[in-house]
């Protein structure tokens, strides 16, 4: 077994053990008031499954695109050691410039405005 897998196994077992302790150790007296969702003491008004907010979705999409850019740029520490370094620099800056243009367009169109 790999060392990192053994480590992950340990770090999974310990929180599991802690959860078991926390559910078995105390005295449980559930009643209706305790188990209802919290809304400053009132009964909850309406369902908690909120309608979809487009701003959070936009932030998630932005994150997706720029994280993929980061993933494309990840080989840079190795690729900057290749014999033709100018090529590496050229292609890396091409990727960055395209994405910067995308960011500029997004900024102009107000997509980052209330990116909340």
């Amino acid at each position: 077994m790999n060392l990192i897998i053994a480590f992950m196994l340990m770090t999974t077992l310990i929180p599991m053990a802690l959860m078991l302790i926390s559910f078995w150790l105390p005295m449980m007296t559930p009643d209706l008031e305790k188990l209802s969702p919290y809304e400053c003491g009132f009964d909850p008004l309406g369902s908690a499954r909120l309608p979809f907010s487009i701003r959070f979705f936009l932030v998630a999409i932005l994150f997706l695109l720029f994280d993929l850019e980061l993933a494309l740029l990840l080989p840079l520490p190795w690729s900057s050691q290749l014999p033709l370094r100018n090529h590496t620099f050229f292609w890396a800056s091409t990727i960055l410039i395209y994405l910067t243009l995308g960011l500029i367009y997004e900024w102009q169109q107000g997509g980052l405005e209330w990116a909340e």
């Binding site: 770090t11 999974t12 929180p15 980052l112």
Partner: protein
């Protein structure tokens, strides 16, 4: 047989248990420090100078009744704190202090990848609680975390180019002559602020905005699961600080006394953590759109420029690091 037990069981435990206990030992000085910064004394009743307070808090949390709300999605509700703590503890494995518990060749990549998974526990806890406060808090937390992750990744890529590889142990060698904070202090400043935002720490603690959302995504948690979330948060804070120290304020590994390096690293980690506290006691909370403006409009364009800078300059001045 004995080496196997040592390697696979005792070594991980020797790393994990002190992390879990770290909160118990450092929480008391932390509260006293924040108290004195706010011109009041911190807890001083429980033990001598209040030093046993966190132990009392921990016992308190585990003895109280955990609540499983009737309207929540039960499995997700229970799994989210476990996921949070699992990730927070696993992230400590590849850190070189100076020799890591699990020696991976692509240390930083592993750490970046796993720290991105913590958003799942935030999202899971908010959704599973089936409460509006929790859901709004969780959505805000997730959006904040993923936004700051982009800039953090690009910043770390810059210094990785300077240092030569994704292995954290090469950072020790890189910083033998000079701390990396000196050539890349804008990156260090931005990455420090990004780690503040990643760990949902003041002044970016909107998600636990107590005046607004009554504890945000963990409003429905009580007792043990709540303790797990906060253990995970403290472990994350210490981890981010240790990572910042290894990356920017490194110390070199002297071959015959690795304990010297460990002490050096951890002292600097403690100083950075005190800086976290200082920032917490000093600044008011960011408004959410200000927070997003900071990352997408201030940090991100600067980071993109920094990547081109850190790629172009070493190539032009033949200052690239040796390839391992």
């Amino acid at each position: 047989m004995l080496p196997t037990i040592m390697n696979y069981i005792i070594n991980p435990l020797a790393l994990i248990i002190p992390i879990l206990l770290a909160r118990r030992t450092t929480n008391s000085p932390k509260r006293k420090i924040i108290g004195y910064m706010q011109l009041r004394k911190g807890p001083n009743i429980v033990g001598p100078y209040g030093l046993l307070q966190p132990i009392a808090d921990g016992l308190n949390l585990f003895v109280k009744e955990p609540i499983l709300p009737s309207t929540s999605s039960q499995i997700l509700f229970i799994l989210s704190p476990m996921l949070a703590l699992t990730l927070a503890l696993t992230l400590w494995a590849p850190l070189p202090l100076p020799s890591p518990a699990a020696d991976l060749n692509l240390n930083i990549l592993f750490i970046l990848a796993l720290s991105s998974l913590t958003v799942y526990s935030l999202l899971g806890s908010g959704w599973a609680s089936n409460s509006k406060y929790a859901l709004i808090g969780a959505l805000r937390a997730v959006a904040q975390t993923i936004s700051y992750e982009v800039t953090l990744g690009l910043l770390l890529l810059c210094i990785i180019i300077l240092s030569g590889g994704f292995n954290l142990e090469t950072f020790n060698v890189t910083q033998e002559n000079m701390w990396l904070i000196l050539p890349s202090w804008p990156l260090a400043a931005m990455s420090y602020v990004s780690t503040l935002a990643e760990t949902n720490r003041s002044p970016f603690d909107l998600t636990e905005g107590e005046s607004e959302l009554v504890s945000g995504f963990n409003v429905e948690y009580a007792g043990g699961p709540f303790a797990l979330f906060f253990l995970a948060e403290y472990a994350n804070i210490l981890l981010m600080n240790t990572l910042s120290v290894i990356l920017f304020l490194g110390s070199s590994n002297t071959l015959f006394s690795p304990e010297l390096m460990t002490t050096n690293l951890m002292t600097k980690t403690a100083l950075l953590s005190i800086l976290f506290l200082w920032v917490r006691a000093s600044y008011p909370r960011f408004r959410y759109d200000q927070l997003m403006h900071l990352t997408w409009k201030s940090f991100f364009p600067l980071t993109l420029a920094m990547v081109i800078w850190h790629l172009a300059l070493p190539i032009a001045l033949t200052g690239l690091p040796p390839q391992l």
